[in-house]
Amino acid sequence: MSTVAIIALASAFVTHATAHTPTASMEPALLTTLALALGDGAIAAADGHAVDAAHAVHSTSGYADVGPLHFVKAVANTDFAWLKWMLLAPLVSVILCGAMAMFKVKGRLPALFTVATFGLSTAMAIALYFQFGPTLFATHAPLTVPFMDWLSLTWGPGPFQSFTANLGFYIDGISMLWMLFVTVLATLIALYASEYMESDLKAGYARFFFAVSLFVTSMLILVMSDNLVGLYLGWEGVGLCSYMLIGYYATQPGATAAAKKAFIMNRIGDLGLALAIFLIWTNYGTVQYDSLFQAIAGSTSEAVQGGWSKAAIPFLLLLAVCGKSAQGPLFTWLPDAMWGPTPVSALIHAATMVTAGIYLLARMAPFYTVQAIGPEWAETALLTVGWIGCFTAFIGATIACGQFDYKRVFAYSTISSLGYMVMGLGVGTAFGGVYYVFTHAWFKALLFLTAGAVMHGMAGQVDFRKLGGLLRVPGFRLTMICMLLGCLWLATAPFSAAAESKDIILLTALTSHVQQVQWMGWIGVLTAGITAYYAFRVWFRLALGPVKIEPGADQHADHGHDDHAGHADHAHGGADAHAGHGAAHSGGFHPHAPGFRISLVLTLLAIGSVLAGLPSYLAHSQGFNWIQRFVQNSSAWMRAGNSEEHGQILGRDAHSTLFIIATTVVVAGFLLAWILHAKNRALGDRLRASMLNTTGLKWIPLGSEHGWYVDQFYNAIIGVPAWLGAQLLAFTDRFVIDGVIVAAIGRFPGFVARVFQPLYTGTVQSYALTMAGGIGLIVAWVVWVWLSGGAS
């Protein structure tokens, strides 16, 4: 079964390069779009109305206003009803694996099912591309396919008197793109995991594949759904799977804590998404993409009503993105997510799930336009997106420089890369962002899987200071070469696929006429240099130098995460201490070289990473970019002015200048890494030690190593006060409300009774006296009423 998937996968790559040429020639209309995309103002003017007005706004209110939106109504086509099997195939695997987990099946069957069903989905994704792609590219009309009723209410005939959120599919460029790479990567990684997880055959093997299958199902729901609530279903579904897989090693307190953290951070984002959905529904009366986009495209910036309730939508969406894609204030869950098995890190926390945020931004791009929220808010929203991405990219990169756990380096690099993507959307190039998602998915999956292979082989050793010279260790050569490729791509080496995509983002930013966006671009450039440094810092340490292998604590992979305190100790102790011990430790340990399946997947991913650059390389000859064509036929492109009308950078031609600058910066980072971590490691270690000893500079290595203490900060300002507040509340509830107030009310009657108790003395006279007193009181009262004239 798995071979089917591999063949399907291979065919995708063999064919896509050849397939698009005839496809393109079949689509004359595409030329218009392309021209538009490339900034040909004349064609854009011919296409649209109210260009002047748009330009007028353009000059005053920045880049948010890009003229009229390009909306094409979706076409419903039930011929594609088979698409549901794309979801149902992994769902079958969910059920089978779940059953096997329940009945404690101890075999490779779960992996087989998973890979097979993923392969099936992949094949269907490819089939969809061939069946529907040409139509889409020709007509620009997305495809909608009804699937099943889910949530739908109607309580009146009016436009705002129904709520429909059924499960249905909305297939346009970006959903198709996501479907393609998600299924392909999922198949490959499941194949990898089938070997990687073998040490767990008797424990959680089935459970692992259950969760992975559920993840793919959810992810596909997320990208295929034709409405926001369906997206939300997938959104939370992937969150759940992420939770289950991060906490996969459930006996490790750290893993469960990390899982909880991830879920809660994601929940904060989900809250944003949920509220955004409410706002969207209350403003537009629908949550179906098609009618939503129609409504937005139909309004003009002057007609925007709704005040804050519309303006809040993009920001709430951004909150959701921050949660899922580990951006901005919510990034801290992703590094901890590395507690999960490495294939999970590769699949979920690098290649696919975390890009759901980018998908959301791209999908919801129309909400970042003047038509949706008016000029001021549109610009603010876009700039916010840009800055969040930009800062996350930068911060992630700086933290990655201080990590010694190579898996965590890659985790921070993911945060940084995701920051780039978000920034791409923010600076106005959905294409750049999405393209980077695509390339990043390949090479980051590759990087994680190589990291996983190393961990797998080194008994879970994740500290690169305890390893070295792996390039020369038998069996690890392929791994190291693949990792080198990944690092090159991560560092955006010139001409790499990553560079091709990242440069589009930087180019757009740097050529923007909005000052702030240009700053973002420069920060992005700087970040690229840092990225090159830390990427090669890892590789040089791992691959070069003398062979040094200190195996991890665990007999099988991934269990060996030191807790943070332990980690810090190593860092403080300096690298010198380790040099001596290294050889001794490596003595009796035999690294476990990756087997066939892992090697195969690594190779395929490496090829994929390289080929991911193809669309860009071929764009020059073909006249269009394969990825761009997906983006252009999606809601992300409704903002037609995503145009990369590349002006000039520093007064020179944008393309060449950026190339020179970027190359210089990357090479600088590379060289720095070379000097400090390959050529003269002692120098690197000394530099670090001296920085640690210098009061003024201490914060740099320490802060970087500890993620700038963001976790601690959150804990101090939110976690601890909230916990204390909750304790106080619980105390109040139990001992004040229940213990004092309720008890007081409950005892009150008894208390009053005690007041009267002395009257019951037991002697006849006293009773008679009290009775007589009572009579006297009554009579007195009556007399008083009479005297006050009350009786009549």
């Binding site: 949530l151 705002f160 939300y232 997938g234 909880k260 949920a274 509220l275 959905i277 409504a295």
Partner: protein
Amino acid sequence: MTLAVLLIVLPLIGAVLCLGVSERAAKTVGLIASLVVLAAATLLAFEFPAWTTGTFWPNEEGWKLFTAFGVEFRLGTDAVGMLLIILTAVLIPCSMLVSFSAITQRQRGFYAQFLFMESAVMLAFLARDVILFYIGYEFTLVPLFLIVAIWGGQDRRPAAIKLWVYSFVGSVISLVGFIYLAAGHATDTGTPINFSVQTLVEYGQTLPASTQWWVFLAIMGGFAVKVPFVPVHSWLPLAHGEAPTAGSVVLAGVVIKIGQYGALRFAFPMAPEGALALAPFFAALALIGILGMSLVCWVQNDVKRLVAYSSIAHMGLALLAMFAFNVVGMEGGILYMVNHGLSTAGMFMCIGIMYERYHTKDMEVVGGLMQRMPVWSVFMVFFAMASLALPGLNGFVSEFLCLMGIYTADAGMKTGFPGILGPTYAFLAALALILGALYVLRMLQKFVFGPLREPSHGHGGHAHGGHDSPGAHGHGNHAAHAIQDVNFREILAMAPLAIACIVIGVWPKPILNVIEPCAANAVAPYVKLIERDLANPPRATADESATKTTAAPAADKGAIQ
């Protein structure tokens, strides 16, 4: 009618049989009786013609048993009632199944109490007369008290007494409201007293706003104890904490639903103006419940108390949604009743199964049970996720609708039925999404995941000897023999709930279709009132929004063309 009466009488017969047979046979007899009731309920469900009409059935002229008191034995229910009847009929056998090994003493009484309770609950859900409802509502208290007090945990007596007094006072306050209304009707129209729901609803709506205010306060105030709302909730954690598993299941799954059902069926329709006027007050209480109790959950170590507190938060959300007075919110609130009944009952079952093995509910003492009881863990995680409102499971549908209902319940909005809450309430209520995750995940982290922690010999022995509950300590010291994972019987008890959770989550369409007319009926009086308020705007923006409602979509369409 016959079936409806059977639904009430069969459990009674079963209860008497239970009391009559030998101690050993009691569980079998009880289970069979409850299954027979389930069969009857199923038959009734099939025969029920009003699933999608929102009307009441059979609702025929009843027996003239209590007509001198204005009470007619008239049975009938709508789709919401039917759902709750089915829920009850399912939960009772499940809760019995889960007690088979947990309850080892006074079994006859135990199973009989459940059947007594079932009968009363059925009566409450079937009654078309306020007093008839009250009979069922109030009578649940006796078996519930006995269940908690006899078969409960260490502090069962204070818990049971608190449950008793709280509930009694609450329901008497509701009764005062009903009687006030019925007496008003009798004196105003010069007719003999009449407690028919229909009559009182019609009469209540004609009352001046100030009178309705009091009526609503009384009726809702009473139900608020049962739901429970925040300042009067303190009986629930205690009762849940001490009740035997099956007791908790039924308490959470059925009994507190009667409170919400009462609010829906009586409080809201009988005094709409009062409800509108008091909505901010009750909404504030609900919000305090949602947020405060979620936080309290976060720091609980007693897992049953945790779930109990979460119940308060959840029911707060359900009621808050009802107070939105629009169809979406009402529908969400109603669905929430069912869903909460399923997921919380499931959680209590899981906890009970665990308790039976370890005799502790302290998360600090026991944890990491995934290694010991993997299948149990699956159920635990599943129900926890359902209560977390994870999409694809039942909780999501209702919670989403609730939040949406609350959110859109702003007179200034363009949605179908503006209510009276609005975004601020929704934002605050939606924080429950995060807080819910906080405490549920903390519970899972400690309880299911992490390194295995089990009470030591000494502790187990202590937990054993420390209380003299006849129900709780049937087994020998657990440390002596290995802890077993859930057995088939326990899976059988939990599986129906789990399946229902999934079905409602994935395919909510049927249940929503069923609830919708009822929700629309419940909202109908409010629509009129809100429209009236909009027509005579107390707020300046009302006019503006009214025009916008009609104009904006048209403008949109024009622009597209």
